[in-house]
């Protein structure tokens, strides 16, 4: 900084100057709708059918710039994660709005299947993008870049006050409650289709101590980067033989798969990095080398297909930020 204003925190870290782009509260995203599902394996009705489930809440925000999203849970027992952010094509700026105004969409995942208690989504953008919103405050402090025009900080625009945060370690690579990741096994009896793996993720998380974390007004921002897909597959077999016509092989395959997205939870004094199942499916096929009036030849059934082969991807540490939502209400 050649000249101008600079503010540092107790640790000596710069928090305001002419080069650091501070975030400012642009508003709460508007809740649109919710969809829920995957509280169990679609189409399956046997053992270990229960999954954590997930709700996707859909929000929108009319804004310039690129909003940074903070999730303020309204049910702090549930896991949350932002799984998608995009510009809705075709938005036409309304009267008084800058031509660069866009309709942003946010898909927020929440564990469980009840659509009640959607989170509040607090959105922040850079100071110089805030000018499209009229402000009549005549007092306060603005910090400009060296060009003397572009704002990096504007005290009138509810700048983001970070109360906690740090580096959130990746969640455990294995998102499933059962010990070890599920795999494929053979040697089961024909048509055997009882899942023996607990695909829920309730105890698969990494905890981070943070005094700013609470279950009343705390909100967080952290990208949901990690994903995983895992599958349990069972092959069944039976053979029967007939003199003169050879043998009949009976084959069956039952498979359960779950796709996970990284999700987060605020507890008192803790920020947890874990998982929530995003999608799931069950497939079953049964065949034999001859038919009959019933079950002849065998059949197959599946609900969806795995998006990619079983693995965990994007498993890495992420920065997380905690703030107090009550400052912006």
């Amino acid at each position: 900084m050649a000249y101008g204003f600079e503010a540092k925190n107790d640790s000596g870290k710069v928090i305001i100057n002419d080069t650091i782009e501070n975030l400012h509260f642009v508003g709460k995203a508007t809740f649109l709708s919710s969809s829920s599902g995957y509280g169990d394996f679609p189409g399956y009705g046997g053992s270990n059918d229960t999954l954590d489930g997930r709700v996707i809440h859909y929000f929108k925000l009319i804004s310039q710039g690129t909003p940074v999203v903070f999730i303020k849970p309204n049910d702090y027992n549930r896991w949350h994660g932002q799984v998608r952010q995009y510009i809705q094509a075709g938005y036409v700026p309304q009267s008084g709005e800058d031509s660069n105004t866009e309709e942003w969409r946010f898909d927020i995942m929440m564990s469980g299947t009840s659509t009640s208690n959607p989170p509040d989504i607090y959105c922040f953008i850079n100071a110089h993008h805030m000018d499209y919103i009229q402000n009549t405050d005549t007092h306060g402090m603005i910090v400009f870049k060296s060009d003397g025009v572009t704002k990096t900080f504007d005290s009138r625009r509810q700048p983001l006050a970070i109360t906690g945060g740090g580096t959130a370690s990746a969640p455990p690579s294995d998102p499933t409650n059962s010990s070890g990741t599920p795999g494929t096994s053979s040697g089961h009896s024909w048509n055997y289709s009882s899942n023996d793996h607990d695909f829920r993720s309730s105890n698969r998380y990494t905890a981070h101590s943070d005094s700013a974390a609470n279950t009343s007004t705390a909100m967080f921002s952290c990208p949901s980067m990690a994903q995983a897909v895992y599958k349990r597959q069972m092959h069944g077999y039976k053979q029967s033989c007939g003199y003169g016509v050879g043998c009949q092989d009976h084959h069956s395959t039952a498979a359960w798969w779950v796709m996970y997205r990284q999700a987060f939870r605020l507890r008192s004094g803790n920020f947890d990095s874990g998982w929530t199942n995003y999608a799931a499916g069950y497939s079953f096929s049964s065949s034999f080398e001859s038919g009959g009036w019933f079950g002849g030849g065998g059949g197959s059934y599946s609900t969806g297909s795995m998006p990619y082969t079983a693995k965990t991807i994007n498993l890495q540490s992420n920065a997380f930020i905690i703030a107090d939502s009550s400052r912006y209400d």
């Binding site: 009896s189 289709s193 043998c247 079953f284 080398e289 001859s290 009959g292 009036w293 019933f294 002849g296």
Partner: protein, 394 residues
Amino acid sequence: MDAETVYINGGQIYKSDSVKSVVANYTYNPDGDPLFKFSKNVSEEYPEGKKYIFTREFKDYFPMDADREGIDVSSYDLCPDVDLWIALGAKSETETKDYDLFFAVQSVAELKAVANYYKLPYPITSEVENLITNSPNTIHFWRLENLYVVPAGIQYRNGVPTLLKLYTYPTTIPGWKTWMLGNSYTDGGEVYESGGIYHQLTGGQGKDGYVMRGSANYQRAESITSKIGDKTSVKYNFTKTDNGGDPVIMWEAEETDIASGEKRIRHYESTKMFREVIGKLSSGNNLESYDLSPDVDFWLGRSYYDNTDEAELYFVATSSEQVKKVSEHYKLPVPYNDNLKNKLDNDPESLRVRHYDMLGLGEGNFVPVVAGGIVFKDNIAVKIKLYEFTREAS
């Protein structure tokens, strides 16, 4: 129909066995040659059992087999008129005293030449000669390309040829092997529908219009046909889930009025409870919209036609008493006679659709499932049926 009839000495029947008695004489050998995965059981005649060891030239007809070695039988006294030697039947491939040499009979002249060469009685009558010449596809065992293999064997005892045997395997439909036969009965045991499942080896080739089973050399075309009285012929076709087929009962029946040629399709739908047993599937219904007999514990499914109120509900028949109560519920006669009643109560395996893990106890605990049917027309039950399926295997 007999599964195997063996002729010796000018038409004398050496043995003529039903499927069950044939199977009782053999033991399935999972490590056996895929051409014939059975060994003859130990008996007085075969105190050390008998294996079937195939020749190189015969195995050359099955090029996709992983094990194509075969044996060289040139050290044996071989009749030069035989074109294709099939196998050695012996306790081991080094046996030189007590064994059988099998060959493919391709003409009556060839069989006569063999009898002359080994100075053994000619085994068959002119009637069987006619079958060899004109319709070997009605008595063959294997099918090689265009050759229907009718086997014959020269039996050696103490190193001396003692018997010339011709093996025949009568077929219901020429060229096709029977895998399974099916009947449905109604009104005190009257046959309502009768048919079967038939296979034909295709030598690793597909066959247009048929479902293919098996793989490589043992790929088989499958045909499932039946008749309902003398008025309707039925062809059962495989359906796929992707095309709206049922996840468990993947068949539809194409019924043709023999007189008019008119066709209609009978669709099949499994119940929720059956799907749960088969694959723990949670879809489907349990036929709640029908008048269901309280004496049925397990409903398998239903069949129905488009644009009619005709349907048939299928249930697990557990005893003659249960079927009687079901019949009484609908005020209809029982479908069985004394013979079927006895089978249902004492030998349900002989009627079974298939073994299923109905109790969820895993391999070794599958139970035979016998099917009964209730035909509804305009929501009124009009017929009770009992199904019987018999197999080549026991």
